[in-house]
């Protein structure tokens, strides 16, 4: 997903951007239909609160981080599964960033609450006064445009790697898989709290006294899951986050491992040049800081929140686009010269 914005800024390549908008638009329509037919009950989801400057700032940090880190949290996981040493460095950066950001959690929450606005509005449908309006005015025209691109051959770009899936096909498949997980689990996919929890587990191992004092690792909040309520948080305990996000993370790494083995591509890759290694690590730290500041990573906001027009997520996307621009400039001028 890092490439959605980065490829536009660096190469004027809009293919990933188009695939991303197709995915979000399809999801918006499917989730809206699921709401009408009462497959999902909480809508707009209670998971997305009122917007604040923290969503924008977090998105900005995350955007810089995902460009410098060579990919977002999910792509870091699947590249790790395929043997990428650079992604392993990014992964370590995310874990350290999660721990350091946890120390500043009270400050971040205070910033978020003091800059919150639109006190009674969490979604675009609250502003437009109708749930159907954003779907009709934004999602359906976007799908129609994608259909027109398909008819004029503007989706085609040949890839030579075995097993390569066209981006538009990937968008369709992901839209239905993600909608199915929302219907089954009752909440959007997420991994950022899982990463923070992993930092917490490592903190307990190596710095138990300090970890015990960090408030962020003690916070447990009720979460809607599988139609019921279960507590969850970033603390190093078995809870709803452990039971949902750890299997997702392990599944992405394991799936990429099996897939790369099957395609004859798995190999523990060589180390990247020092400048790129530093970029990957810093990118990981920034992604963790951004996700904690924004209240979620790109998976949560761009795949979970944007299709339900959550205002927090819209701000996150604007921030991430700005961050990706800054990251692209830094990458080109400093990291890869």
């Amino acid at each position: 997903m890092a490439g959605v914005f980065r490829d536009v800024f660096l190469f004027r390549d809009y293919l990933r951007m188009k695939a991303f908008f197709l995915l979000v638009s399809l999801l918006a329509v499917i989730l809206y239909l699921m709401r009408i037919f009462k497959v999902i009950s909480t809508y707009p989801p209670s998971f997305f609160g009122v917007p604040s400057a923290a969503n924008l700032l977090g998105g900005l940090l995350f955007g810089v981080g995902m460009v410098l880190g060579g990919g977002c949290l999910i792509s870091t996981l699947y590249k790790l599964g395929a043997g990428s040493t650079a992604s392993c460095i990014t992964f370590c950066g995310v874990l350290l960033g999660g721990f350091v950001s946890a120390v500043f959690y009270p400050l971040i929450r205070s910033f978020a609450s003091s800059t919150a606005f639109l006190k009674d509005k969490t979604s675009l449908e609250h502003i437009m006064g109708s749930a159907a309006a954003p779907v009709l005015l934004i999602s359906l025209p976007a799908i129609a445009l994608a259909w027109r691109w398909a008819k004029t051959g503007r989706w085609s770009q040949r890839a030579y790697a075995r097993g390569y899936l066209s981006l538009w096909k990937a968008s369709f498949m992901m839209a239905f898989v993600i909608a199915a997980t929302v219907a089954l689990s009752g909440r959007p996919l997420a991994v950022s709290t899982g990463f923070a929890k992993l930092s917490g587990f490592l903190g307990v191992l190596f710095l138990p006294v300090l970890t015990g004092k960090i408030a962020f690792f003690r916070v447990q909040s009720p979460r809607l899951l599988y139609g019921g309520i279960m507590n969850g948080g970033a603390g190093p305990v078995v809870d709803s986050v452990f039971l949902t996000q750890f299997p997702l993370m392990a599944g992405v790494v394991g799936g990429a491992f099996i897939s790369s083995l099957r395609l004859g591509e798995f190999k523990v890759r060589r180390l990247p040049p020092a400048r790129q290694a530093f970029s990957a690590f810093s990118g990981g730290v920034l992604m963790a800081a951004g996700a904690l500041t924004a209240g979620g990573c790109n998976l949560w906001h761009m795949i979970g929140g944007l299709p339900v027009f959550a205002l927090q997520s819209i701000l996150f996307v604007f921030g991430a686009a700005g961050g990706a621009f800054l990251g692209s400039v830094f990458l080109r001028k400093v990291v890869i010269r």
Partner: protein, 83 residues
């Protein structure tokens, strides 16, 4: 008499995304004269599977012919200027 074509080998395995495309574009530019004069061809070694989409796409738009083969857990992308 048969002309010899020099191979410019660019080994970018292990590098972060999107270094593959940025470095390849830069090297194509640095070796433009030799490549356009058909005195050389560029062979890019990459283990980044998305590079098999992005590098051929960009190179083709610049007038290069492209061939890609998978070799021992990486890809070799050969770029030659079309005559």
């Amino acid at each position: 008499m048969e002309r010899t074509v020099e191979d410019i080998v660019l080994d970018i395995r292990g590098q972060i995304c999107p270094a593959c495309l940025l470095i390849t574009l830069s090297e194509l530019n640095n070796n433009k004269e030799r490549l356009k004069g058909a005195k050389a061809r560029m062979i890019v070694k990459t283990d980044h599977r998305d590079a098999t989409r992005t590098i051929p796409g960009a190179a083709f738009a610049m007038g290069y012919s492209v061939s890609v083969v998978q070799k021992d857990r990486h890809y070799e992308i050969t770029l030659e200027h079309e005559k």
